[in-house]
Every structure is written in structure tokens, then in C-alpha cells.
Symmetry: D2
Subunit: 306 residues, 4 copies
Amino acid sequence: MSSPDSKSSAISSTKPSTKSSRLVHNSYGKSGVRLSKIIRHADYQELRELTANIQLEGDFAGSYLDGDNSQIIATDSMKNTVYVLAAEHPFATLESFAHDLALHFLKTYSHVTEATVHLVEDLWLRIPTDGKPHPHAFVSGGNEKRIASVIADRESISMQSGIDNLVVAKTTDSQFWGFIRDQYTTLPEARDRIMATSIEASWLYRAETKSEADKIDFNKNYDTIRTIILDIFATQHSLAVQQTLYEMGEAVLAAISDIEEISITMPNQHRIAFNLEPFGKKNQNEIFVPIDEPYGLISGTIKRGG
Amino acid sequence: MSSPDSKSSAISSTKPSTKSSRLVHNSYGKSGVRLSKIIRHADYQELRELTANIQLEGDFAGSYLDGDNSQIIATDSMKNTVYVLAAEHPFATLESFAHDLALHFLKTYSHVTEATVHLVEDLWLRIPTDGKPHPHAFVSGGNEKRIASVIADRESISMQSGIDNLVVAKTTDSQFWGFIRDQYTTLPEARDRIMATSIEASWLYRAETKSEADKIDFNKNYDTIRTIILDIFATQHSLAVQQTLYEMGEAVLAAISDIEEISITMPNQHRIAFNLEPFGKKNQNEIFVPIDEPYGLISGTIKRGG
Amino acid sequence: MSSPDSKSSAISSTKPSTKSSRLVHNSYGKSGVRLSKIIRHADYQELRELTANIQLEGDFAGSYLDGDNSQIIATDSMKNTVYVLAAEHPFATLESFAHDLALHFLKTYSHVTEATVHLVEDLWLRIPTDGKPHPHAFVSGGNEKRIASVIADRESISMQSGIDNLVVAKTTDSQFWGFIRDQYTTLPEARDRIMATSIEASWLYRAETKSEADKIDFNKNYDTIRTIILDIFATQHSLAVQQTLYEMGEAVLAAISDIEEISITMPNQHRIAFNLEPFGKKNQNEIFVPIDEPYGLISGTIKRGG
Amino acid sequence: MSSPDSKSSAISSTKPSTKSSRLVHNSYGKSGVRLSKIIRHADYQELRELTANIQLEGDFAGSYLDGDNSQIIATDSMKNTVYVLAAEHPFATLESFAHDLALHFLKTYSHVTEATVHLVEDLWLRIPTDGKPHPHAFVSGGNEKRIASVIADRESISMQSGIDNLVVAKTTDSQFWGFIRDQYTTLPEARDRIMATSIEASWLYRAETKSEADKIDFNKNYDTIRTIILDIFATQHSLAVQQTLYEMGEAVLAAISDIEEISITMPNQHRIAFNLEPFGKKNQNEIFVPIDEPYGLISGTIKRGG
């Protein structure tokens, strides 16, 4: 599971530390809050399932320095808050729930200076029966996740959305050659290889206020970006994982003006050609050994503006 | 990963054990042999990926009793065999590859008395681009697996096929009530609950020889069974996980005469209603906590014949 | 996690099935019931943590065939039972708790014909402070587990205890040579290799009644067996994993007369020598690549009696 | 597995991007490089096993923008480098190997501007036989890991060492009360609870050059810090996880002058008291349900200086 980088903030402790050390950063919260929400429409139902991770920063130093919990919101109360707010929330977008949760903590507790809410949604697909989606039966969408992540303080918000574990492979149209050959190199050049990866993409919205965020069509953007990523993966002739990654980012920024930058990580899940020569045969680029480790890990951030 | 039960066989050791103990069962093999095979058709490609697990029984007692490895087929050689045979195999069905692998070991090594081959296939779906499946780009089918498992000795074969990790949920049309209430019971009766499970189904074919097995359309059966299972899950009004399980098995046996019996396991992946009353609200059967543990584990075997 | 093989029992359904299929086996229960029990002695405390898995067989066909749950003990009630019985139980041995749980279900519900209780204990070690074990602070014993597994019906009991995930390695004194060399063999013979494995051992007691079981010192046996297994792993000059496995079993049976047979599984967790020759160096049997897959999987059952 | 935050660096691409987007960050490398090294001393052997993760930053934009790999060090070559350097390295400390690996990439490739090497070591303990540690047989140290992480550029180095997955629990001497009670609070105050956590600690050394780093006794520091952390966990009367965390950090800084700051993360692995009242019994603070999710996640960074 990916998590947003916490913006570091130096919290001054309520009393001077008696020793020659000081608490320069603290944060705490509840992770792994799992929620199912059923939305019962007239003619079909939605099953929405997510895991919420909440981190708060603020005036909590008393608990660290003295075990004084008077400013501490119990993480159990944060967990309760997720369920209570979920009961009332329309869940139109994952982002809106993340957003409202983050603002709730800032609004309710004046000593909270920053709230980070990171939601990871499991995807459910309606089971096709009689040629159409069943109204209330679902099959898992697999390991792929939809992500919404909001960091809010009293001045502004930062909204990131993403896809995680989008596992793809192509059996041709991928090359890797022309790299540095020196005394540490044994990898042969590949003119036709399998390329397989588990894509993690996280896009940062330009919106910095609630009113700006409210105008965004998060669902449409998510669908568009997922389609662009799959499309480029499928159709680009790839010379390097790096090139594929960059082209995805460039295309997303070109298509969606709401987005300021996008970070993509693509672990290279290698398939190693099995050597059939000891057995008197030639591997016609057909037989491979998939390995989990080691893996190339390629990442990049593409930002709007020339 | 499920694995077939090994049929136990007492292997008489080549020499009497000098101590008051004897080796009453032994088997060994290679597990986790991961294979990618690309089948390059004229207008599209197939990406087939599986993990092979091989276990052999036979006259191996010398290795156990004396460290005499002269009868030992190295597990590394078994691994090589998977790749060598895969290179030549058409892969028309997963079952045919399992079958041919098992027979290979019996045919090649006269002291092998039984070979078990258990294949677990990862599913890849062709990425839709421009409204049709892309010819050589794939997205993962998730955690769901297709299974083929063959146990063969010199007299007969036993062929099992299966589905594993078929994760499904329904948001209504499931009840659970009328169960025993005694001093250990706190569970309320449910007239409308979420039912979620990860289905594992394994069907045993009636075929006991290679020529009988060669007549079976394994792929069609797999597709039909998967559809039946999803269909019953979606459309049956369930009074118990047990009932749903049995109805699935009965329908499979009714539809497919090749099959002698089917075993189904359905862990009950509970969603617990979150109590909103402490917060002055009522849970309208909408807000739940998904839990992994503990889980009900329900299984049954349904066999042909009245 | 290993689990005991269920003894299969044909349950006659309460009414004839209307279709041409019948339920030939059924069982259900609760798995993943996690328990912490603190035992507060005068001068130190014990932290005992285990996961309980319960499976019952009996007259449950009504639920499968008709959704009639009147004979169903809810798996939630089974879960409650674990905690209620744990509160009163002295926990002198893991086996005694497994035993009492299994007998409870047979005693309480006349239509239960067989109860299987499989307990997996997490091990906690007292933290050394000031040169002695701290009375109430613990560090995890890692992934190694202690197992107790009881299958009971109205006539007899079957008691198995075990160790799981005992991960060990030796850097010399292990060989593997003299195995079959044929066209599928590329593995070189090894006169000095790393041997690494994760040992799973499960021993079956001779006791078949409660009074016989009550005389057994399960804790002492567990300690003795663990020591024997580690000792033989460390000190035997190994010619094959198979040989090491057998010698462990033989030594356990020789040492402990309570035990009828022992099954051991030893996956061969390979370390592959890294080829340094392309870099102008020789690997002095020092640099290896540990791999998880594929792995040799070696098992054997050793029984008392010549 | 924790990984160090990459310092972000804007890499100017070799040619202007033709579209209205630019690559503002890129890095790539090899992760999951698993290594076993045996060090054969006269009277005993060491088994050292680690997973290496390497990330490089530098002038790699050509690969992203144009698929021009002429500046790309293949991740496969990075993997080779780990093994080649490991063969020659004395492995006196984990940190020295991380350090030398990082410097190697900077020294060998002039277009690399920053190298991050993150090593995760699996711990092996010598098996006690005949009352003393066996010279070449080992038992796993469990999930606990030792970490060394180096970020180096051409001006300076940043060295972090750490412990991960140090799983501990105490059965008394932990309280949690006095926290905010509002409409979202249902958690009762606890005057005597189980505290369990999996400690991750990462300490940043003051050394910023190789010569400064060479003077540090990393192994002694690691041992001292591990002992301090366990000692405070065991002996402190805890009023909050936060307080325990801070006290650990303060004690480490007081004991070890080499260290500039320490970050500690302590997920609160909850044990929930099981309610025995429906069964007519009282839970004497003895019977608990361990849960994995949700979990409180507490972190803090403590820095030298008042």
C-alpha cells in the first residue's frame, strides 16, 4: 500500500524537554480502518469497500513528553469517526469522502494542525447474469486499488488520487538495448521481450481549496487516466520502461487540465528466458521464468509546464 | 494454494531399517516452478502463466535411510522437465499439460510408482483498446486461479480441475437464522446480511484412463462451471452458506456428465454491522466492518448418484 | 499453516436428495479464532497467544439440502466457546486445551459426530533485563509455531503435536551427489553446499483415550523433540535432505515412547551459487542467491516398529 | 520493509520536452537483490543474508523522453555489482557494505548524481548444541531485521541504521487514560492493558563524510540501541505509546553521541478484552482478542539538542 508522504512539521512541545533532546516531529493516527458501505439504489446496489488510514499532526507533545493525554484524540475515536461520517456521506467520489474526513478533524479539534487521510478502495464488479450486470451480486476486481489521499491544514488542501497494483504484461513490442556495457554487464540486449509491471500512479490535483476541489469530476478523471495508462501500455512500442512511464504521464497531463503533476512507479517484473540449449532445443522466445526478485524499480514524476 | 491430497502408499525400503522404526510414507518433488509460455498465433498472442508443483512416490527409500541418491531424480531436473515439456506442448488445456507431465515421470523412470502434478494458472485478460481485445497486451485477472491436478500411477489416473480464490459478495438476498441458540450464542439472527466468500471448487472427472481423459472438453467445462457458480451465487436466495454451496454442486453435476464429484469450500468472510447507536444514529443495514479473522469455513462434497 | 487431514465421513442426509446427487461429505467450523490469554503468576506472567481452528462433522445435512439451520451451531458460537473455555482453562499444555475444546463439542451437541481442533501457538520469549527474564515483557519468538491438533469422535481421540516454520540453515557439512544424471539433468553435484529449510514436524501420539492422553508430558516432549531436530540438523553430515529428515524421525521415535509416528516436511530453500566468472573472479563457495521459488519439497513419515 | 525517503532532485532533461510537460524527478534501480555470504573463519562460520535495494539519480532523462538508453546502467548490472562487491567485501558491518556500494556507483558512473543503498538483513542465530553455539548451523532470528541505509552524492553522505519488526508485548504496566472524550469516543480508559507493537527505529548518524563514518562502531551502536529499546519497553511504566516512544529516543540520544536523530514508529497492535458477561463470567483482564486491523500508528522523531 502506498501512503502519502507526510509533510514534516516541527511541533514545539508544550514544555521544554528536560534532557538534551527534543521532539522535532510527531504524528499519530489510525491505520487499517476497513469499511463496507452499501448504497441501496432503487434498481441496483453499490458495494463500496475501503481501508482508511488517518494521521494527525498538532499539539500532541504532552503525550510524548509526559504521558499527558489530555490533547490526545484516541485512535479508536478516529476509527469511530470513519464509520459515523460514512453513514451520512453520499460517497459520490472516494476523494470527497477523504476530503470531508480530513476537514472534519481540523474543524472538530482546534489543536490539530494537519490531517492526512489516505483511502484505498477495493473494487467490486457486478456479476454478469443473463447478459447484464446483476443488481446486487459482485465479483472482486482483484488486487487493483483506487486511491484517494488528502493532506489538509488550515490554509490549503493537497489532493492526490491514484491507482495501485494495476498489473499488466505485453508479449511483444518491448525492447531494451543500447544501455551501458561495462565489466558489470551480462544482460543481453533484447529486441523483443516480455514487459510486465504493476503500475502505481498518483496524480496531484491543482486544486488547493475546497471550493476548487468541489468542481472536479474525480470519477471521470480516474476512468480517463486508467484508460490512458492501459492504452499506452498496450500500443506504445517501448524502448525502455522509463519511456513508457514518461509517455503515460505526458498523455495524462495533456488530457486532464485539473492535474498538476503525476508520479508513476513501474517495477519491472522480469521474465527470464529459460535456456533450452542444454536439452538440445532452442527457445523461440516462448518459454520464460517469471521471477519476483530482484526487480527493476523505475519511477518518475511528470509536471505540467514546459 | 490448495494442493491435492497425496494418496498414501507404503514404500518398502530397499533394506531393513536397523532401528525400530520404518519409513511408511515418502514423497518429494519440486514446488513453485513458475512458467510463462507465449503462444504466438497469427493475429494475437496468448500469455499463459502457471506454477507447477510435482510430487513423486516410488523407490526412494535409499536416500532416506542411507543417503544413497542413486534412485533420486533431482528436483532441479523435475524443474527442467517442466520447461522442456512446456516448449513442445500445445497447451490446449491446462489439464492436458498436467496429464502429460505426470505420465512423463511414470514413463521415464520405472521406479516411480505415482506422480502428482498440481498446476495453478494465473489468468491474464486481453486489454480492451479501440473497443476490441488487444492482440498482445494483457491485464491481470487478479487472484483468481485455474487449477489442474493429476495423480497418476501405472494403472489409472485421477483428474481434478478447479477454481481457487473466486472472491464474491452479495449485498442482499442472504439470510441466516433458525440456528441453535444456547448459552454460547450471541449472534443475532439475520434476515438480510452481506454474504461474501472466496470460493474454492475442485471437480473430479470420471475418466480414469488417458483415452477417456482425451475426450473431455476441459475448457468448456471450466467455463460452464464458473458461470454456474457465479450464477447461483448471484440469483439464489440464500438461507445458509451451506445451502448455497450444495446448490452449486448439484447444478454442476446436473450440467456436466463428465464429472463424478465436486468439492467446494466457502470461507464466510464476515461483514459485521457497525453499531452506530452510541453516536445517536441507526445503522440502516448500510455500514459494516469487513474482517479477515475469524472466518466461518464451510465445505462439502457432492457426488453423482441418488 | 498446516492442518490435519479430516477423516472423511459419509453423512447421511436427513431426507433423500431430490436430484441425482448426494452430499457425501460435509464439515464446517470457525477458523482464525485468535486468542490472547494472560496467566498472572505471583512473580511473573505468561502471555499465551494462539489461533484456533475448529471443524465439526455431524448431522448438518439439512442446512446444505434445505437451508434448515435447526441443527447448526453458528460458527460465531464456536468462536465464543473458545474464549469462554479459555477463561477457565489452566493452559498447562496447548494439547490439553485442544483436547478439552474437542470434547466440549462432542459432549454439548449430541448430533456432532467428530470434532477437529487445530491450535497454532505464537511463541513469546521473556525479554532479558538485568541478566534475567523480565516478569511481564516479551519479545516475539518469530514465525516458528507450536501446534496441537486433536480429532475426536465418540470412540477415540487422535492427538498430534507439532512444530511449524522452524527455519534453519547450515553453511557446510551438507552434500548432494550421486543422483540420476540424464537428459533433464543440469544440476552439478555438490560436495559442500548450504542446506536451508523450514521444518514442519508433526508427531502422532499413541494415546487414543482421554485417560491415556492425560498421562503424557506434552511440554517435555515438545522441548525434547525440538532439541533433537535442531541437534541432528546441526551435527549430522547430510548426504540428502531425505536422509536428514529420516534421521530426525528415527531419533524422535527412539527418544519418546509416547509417539507412534512422526511426519516431517522439509522444503529445500535453495541458495544458488552466483557465477562470478564473467567478472574475472572465482566464487569460493561464499556468494549465493537465496531463492524462494522453486523449492524442493521433501516429506516422509516414520513409524514405530521394525 | 521501510525504505529511506529519496531526496528529490530536479533532473534537467537533455533536450526540451516537446509537449507542455517535464520530467521533474526520476530515479530507478534494482530492488530485492538477495544475497547470502558465508564468511568462513577458522573455528566458526558466519551466514549473512540481506536484501539490497539500490536507487540511482542522475542524467537519465534521455531514456524517459526518447527511449535513449545510452546513459542507462541496466538494473541487471546493478544486481551483478552487489554480488561482485560482496565477494570482496569483509562485511565487518552492514553499514560499511551499504556505504561502499553507494560510493561505487558514484565513482564508476560520472553521470550518477546520487545513490541510495538500502540493505535489509535477515538475522541468523547459531544453534546451541552441547551448551555452546554450533560453528556452522543456524536458526532464523525471525522477522526482525537489521537495516542500513546510505544516501550519497558527490558532496556528502547520509547514513541511517535501523531495526525493523522488533515485535514486543507487555502484559501489565501500561495504561491509557485521560484522553479526549467527546461524541466520537467509546473507548474505555485503561489502567492496566496489554501493550504490543512492532517497533521500527531508524537512527541518523552525524557523520557526513566517509572518514567520519569510518570511525563509527556501527555494530556496537546497534547492539546498544536494541538493548535500550527493549529495556525501556520492559521497564517503563507506560501512560501512552507516545510516551514510551519518546523515552526510547531520548535514551538512545543520551547514550550514543554519534547519533543526530532517531525516528521511531510503533503501531499499536491492539488486544481487545473479550466480553464474557453474556456468558455469566467476568473477564479478569485475562482473555483478549488480538487484532491486526485497525491499528494505531504512532511515530516521532527525536533530535539531539535542547
